[in-house]
Symmetry: D4
Subunit: 226 residues, 8 copies
Amino acid sequence: MTAPANFNGARPVIDPKDAAMLLIDHQSGLFQTVADMPMPVLRNHAIALAKMATLCKIPVITTASVPQGPNGPLIPEIHEAAPHAQYVARTGQINAWDNPDFVEAVRKTGKKTLIVAGTVTSVCMAFPAISAVQEGYKVFAVVDASGTYSKMAQEIRLARIVQAGVVPTDTAAVASELQSTWHRDDAQQWAELYTLIFPPYKLLIESYAKAQEVIQKNEQLDSSRA
Amino acid sequence: MTAPANFNGARPVIDPKDAAMLLIDHQSGLFQTVADMPMPVLRNHAIALAKMATLCKIPVITTASVPQGPNGPLIPEIHEAAPHAQYVARTGQINAWDNPDFVEAVRKTGKKTLIVAGTVTSVCMAFPAISAVQEGYKVFAVVDASGTYSKMAQEIRLARIVQAGVVPTDTAAVASELQSTWHRDDAQQWAELYTLIFPPYKLLIESYAKAQEVIQKNEQLDSSRA
Amino acid sequence: MTAPANFNGARPVIDPKDAAMLLIDHQSGLFQTVADMPMPVLRNHAIALAKMATLCKIPVITTASVPQGPNGPLIPEIHEAAPHAQYVARTGQINAWDNPDFVEAVRKTGKKTLIVAGTVTSVCMAFPAISAVQEGYKVFAVVDASGTYSKMAQEIRLARIVQAGVVPTDTAAVASELQSTWHRDDAQQWAELYTLIFPPYKLLIESYAKAQEVIQKNEQLDSSRA
Amino acid sequence: MTAPANFNGARPVIDPKDAAMLLIDHQSGLFQTVADMPMPVLRNHAIALAKMATLCKIPVITTASVPQGPNGPLIPEIHEAAPHAQYVARTGQINAWDNPDFVEAVRKTGKKTLIVAGTVTSVCMAFPAISAVQEGYKVFAVVDASGTYSKMAQEIRLARIVQAGVVPTDTAAVASELQSTWHRDDAQQWAELYTLIFPPYKLLIESYAKAQEVIQKNEQLDSSRA
Amino acid sequence: MTAPANFNGARPVIDPKDAAMLLIDHQSGLFQTVADMPMPVLRNHAIALAKMATLCKIPVITTASVPQGPNGPLIPEIHEAAPHAQYVARTGQINAWDNPDFVEAVRKTGKKTLIVAGTVTSVCMAFPAISAVQEGYKVFAVVDASGTYSKMAQEIRLARIVQAGVVPTDTAAVASELQSTWHRDDAQQWAELYTLIFPPYKLLIESYAKAQEVIQKNEQLDSSRA
Amino acid sequence: MTAPANFNGARPVIDPKDAAMLLIDHQSGLFQTVADMPMPVLRNHAIALAKMATLCKIPVITTASVPQGPNGPLIPEIHEAAPHAQYVARTGQINAWDNPDFVEAVRKTGKKTLIVAGTVTSVCMAFPAISAVQEGYKVFAVVDASGTYSKMAQEIRLARIVQAGVVPTDTAAVASELQSTWHRDDAQQWAELYTLIFPPYKLLIESYAKAQEVIQKNEQLDSSRA
Amino acid sequence: MTAPANFNGARPVIDPKDAAMLLIDHQSGLFQTVADMPMPVLRNHAIALAKMATLCKIPVITTASVPQGPNGPLIPEIHEAAPHAQYVARTGQINAWDNPDFVEAVRKTGKKTLIVAGTVTSVCMAFPAISAVQEGYKVFAVVDASGTYSKMAQEIRLARIVQAGVVPTDTAAVASELQSTWHRDDAQQWAELYTLIFPPYKLLIESYAKAQEVIQKNEQLDSSRA
Amino acid sequence: MTAPANFNGARPVIDPKDAAMLLIDHQSGLFQTVADMPMPVLRNHAIALAKMATLCKIPVITTASVPQGPNGPLIPEIHEAAPHAQYVARTGQINAWDNPDFVEAVRKTGKKTLIVAGTVTSVCMAFPAISAVQEGYKVFAVVDASGTYSKMAQEIRLARIVQAGVVPTDTAAVASELQSTWHRDDAQQWAELYTLIFPPYKLLIESYAKAQEVIQKNEQLDSSRA
């Protein structure tokens, strides 16, 4: 394969109207094994995905791998940020796509474009992504909202999913493909969402507001008060 | 000097009853210049200091360097986390200790032990710290709640303040010296505070709670439900 | 090529029933030349592969490159962990696939899916992997159980094997594709196996057990004993 | 201070006959927060310390910080490797030296030289180390058997303990100061111990043995068999 | 796709006569979010692109994403270095290719080969690049004149654009494909341009000139004057 | 020594009225050997020192090590930025302080506080710095305006000069100690100077100006024009 | 393309009998711009290629880009190690393949497999490699014997040459494909050659020889002499 | 201590006339455990020390730790480069200073200044260095000609030896303190020696010679021949 699968030559981008989001195994225990990026970055990216799904009213399906064991519970922020998300319990399958309830939940969304993230990248994200490609879905794998046990494992995985026809993407690109334009009523909410992905963006907003306030309120520089 | 200054042979640790905290120039613009640690880490450490001062009722003095200019405003979380903090405006002095109002505010706390953090480390933290040592204060410089423009600059600065008799410290150590024991009513608030310094601590708390809940609620492992 | 070779459009994953494992040149001397990952990590990954082959009763073939010389002996843990492994001595060939005994041993397993790891990646893993693709095998190359002399060499090699139709993979993914589900009697052995791949997993298991024991034995927190 | 404290001009090295070892808070939960070195490296170093104490019959005192909570249990290998170690429970004190039972246990060893390691370095190792210096002990802090939340925190801590008169050391140096000579009956056990500190040492031993075996058994090079 | 798109088998290189350059969203605010390379390096690369377009008389189109907000203004050097560049304002579209004025400006150049750079890589460079491929352009994406929020995001993006048929390139390669030969009258200007891409090149030129001057002016070595 | 030498207990800071600056061996050839920081960063720091000396009218003495040989010429920007600098040719001495003309030039400034930078740190900066301390000067060594052949060499050198009583410092701290306050007529020139030390400062100034212009000119956001 | 070009389905490996080697622009000046690997590593790899060409009697063609200017002379070891190499002077062309003499020299070797290395990777290696693919050659690009100005540029270039049908490879793999077997008379020379690629291999040979000598000469351990 | 020991206020530099060099345990096996710098760099630095001792006729004493075992033989280049070096066999002592023959050999040189390097830094260099300080020697420890098992161990060791009064130094500084001036007959040999410490220095020499040759031989630029 290696070309983006199932696009039939169309521009390989996300159509927000056709998209469902799968957030797989973002669990407190598994997060301890993540070493390809700082864990708080991963946590923020996963939350950002949930938030953008809510902003765009995209269906979200979550699942966890034996959360009663050492893998630990799903991080709570995902369902907080996407209250409409549907949780599907598995019965031990490592590949979520091997669980019929999960596949059925995906099918019922009626969407053919899947945005997939999962921890660990190598397994929980990659296996369902590759499986879904085989069944005709257009699959976007959000590599930096997934997390795995080494940078090398992440690089290997990137190569493998591309080889299988999955479109690799990052959290910022998903946000921007879904948002599409700043000319929308919820633009401010998107700006806040980007602060989860680009932390300096929060500083930019703060500095921008202050710089304008100085003019608006006619503030004097402290150093000219001396 | 190089020995911890002004301890006269006493154990060189923080006495919470004798301590005041100086948080200097943690501004949105200056934060963009920080390169010795990820900026969000610095931001969390500065917030953690403000929170622990509140938990321990330690006086806090803040100040900013020309916040009407490109240096930008103080990050808002500091005064939110330490509502009792006193802000002292300067009139252009780079070394806060060169501003008489600032020195007077410190003096009025009646404390002789100063916990100092400031951005950039090289200047805004180090100059007042070195100045205060000369005037008889016991000074603890929180290097990883300060932030500067390169790792090398941070290392140079660490060497310089030690040479001048300042006690170098990190955010976690300040927290633990102030907290002293887990046998206290606000132990839970301290646990939450540590999640700002050690992000995996949040995962530990989540996994711990879930593991106990599984026993308490007699939950079955998903994988044995199959 | 560049698409996974010899799958004829089927889902490019490992079928444990059709798989044989080739562990090539994991020798004490060659391990000293490895620089793309910490050597103990590589050693653990190679051992983990041997263990999972044993758990799944997958045939294993090992070989070594002139172990009587500076390349040194095979690390002993591989045959310890996979006592059923068959060792094939070569007569100087660098590409194990150039040795007729080796190819014959592979052929006799009757398997068409090969899981290949070898040190150094660039040579001992890659040459047989590329050769096997040409002869119709489905080949999975376990890049992080191989090891080579620089990170750059590893990246180059990853690109080359993908170009040749090999499926790149990592140790964790091989484990999970072979294990398939936690709903199996040997689940505990798999959990232990993952501690070789994700060292923090051992901590998770320890902390999980203790957290549950505290409830089960009704232990008091030390800090509330004071 | 900054000079090694309490040596009164004597060579600042460990006298094995006068030494006790303090292993503080090496707990499964706290290990998840360690980021200044790979956790498995820290784990091996802590185990190596316990082993060398056993080889040299040095008293060992262990303790843990609220092991019933998220900090988790002591890693089991320490008491396995040093069965003679004495565990002292605390009642919430963060600085083990604030616990009278702990100080008393140290006193009872009758030793005046302390080898101290603890997680996290910034707190659990540094506070007792600095406290003990004040009470006249010669203190060696094993920085790379301690572990803390950032490389920067480790560097800051190194500077602080040196400033306070603690002698900073590493796991290998402690081993070599205790072992002193290879001319001893347990030399082989020391060689094995070093494989925990220098993992390539295991490869050296394996390659060395094989190279000698080739001569002793008159083995032919595989490449000359062709 | 994955092969370079729209070349129809021709050598996939830049034909300077058929090329237009698109410089997208190189803005002072967005530059603060860049973390895959040092920002001054990115700034120099963007300027170098503008300069080489001027040297080769290649049309340049610039645009910015809401420069009145926190994203900030275009860095001024781009239009200074390429005074012939045409600026196209957008009306909020994140993908410049979604803005009809922008597409029309590209079309009007009459060129079918596009050299594209933009910040952030993941979005502002990649979206137009992928879009243009779909409309038949030969697209060269200058990854190291773009800049994004993490090294991982850059690597993901590289994989995605290659998958989509974009030709990935770097600033030096664009310069050399455009320059083609040192046998040209403006060779000296190209040498200076390379100092923006390879900073040591400036040292080479300085040392080279001095070494020749020593001969030409018959200078004595200072050390032989003693 | 290890305490800052020759301060006799006074605050160990730079008194601009008593300071001379020594810029030693910043040569194009030697710059090629620098590996403890990116060379362009070193170049900017050296230029920044020259500029601040000019702003504060501090005497500057430069020298070079056999610039007629492979060490190459002084970088030209230093004398451009400090036209008042005095160049002293040596006759082969590696330690500039071994050259009587150099020592005499320093003596003639009448200053007792020396700000020293030189490439390579290990030699050209450190030797004169240590020598000057012995002759009663207060010496500030600007480690990140010096440059040496490895990060390790830089760290070793930092330790050695501190041990010898030199005050280690960084370029930003020198600037701020000399500038002292933003309440001065040349404040804008200092702001520009900091852009050489903190490159993001340039972005801050650009974004700040644009944010204020938007208010002052009542500009509309592009995204609200749609 | 993206599959290895011009193999027509044959195993994509080097046939030593059909190979010529092109070593392009390994010049002292250009080497100063290399930042994707330590320059001495690159130098050793280039020398190793020349040596293996000599061992295998493979034709070598060298060329340089304006060696009379700041790019500097070819490093001398290449022609020393491959005395049979043919040097082709260019007349300013950046892409060596644009020089008719160079192309003719390649053609005259009668070989259809080209092993190409050049500095900088992005230009001097990549342009001829891509050009040769178009003219029907099987091209192996030795990425880690080339060298370029940033790790990112190297990664981009790897992607581009793979996209163009070039086979990416590393120095070790070229050596092993050419050597093929240890069962050859010049095996010792190959072992020495590998010490240029894997420096620890030299240690292995030294330790191996000593370990055998101890047995052969019946040496006593120093530690048992005590 | 922490001040340089045994200088009694004199300038803490090496007096070549009073210096002896101790090169301890630079063995092929131990070199495999080195991880604080690339091993070939360490090897070059050790060789450089031997060469400069020969150039300055400084006595050299070498020794090895059980070279008949896995630690391996001394690297041969040391005695090749310093044929006058005296080898002292030990009888198992880890600290060379515990061996009476070694101490006696040092004493017999009649020198009071010792330049010490040894692998591993933590043990073989540090223990004799600290011991010698106690016995009145001025000791210079060449940290980057020593080598140890982690960067952290190197940093800890640097702190410990400084605390003990040893002067830390690097290979380049030792060379320059011994050489003192370029105005000497063997200047060319020193230039060559520096190429072992600063590998780019070799490029500088090559480029310098070529640049001058172009003038001297009136060579035309290739690009103007076109």
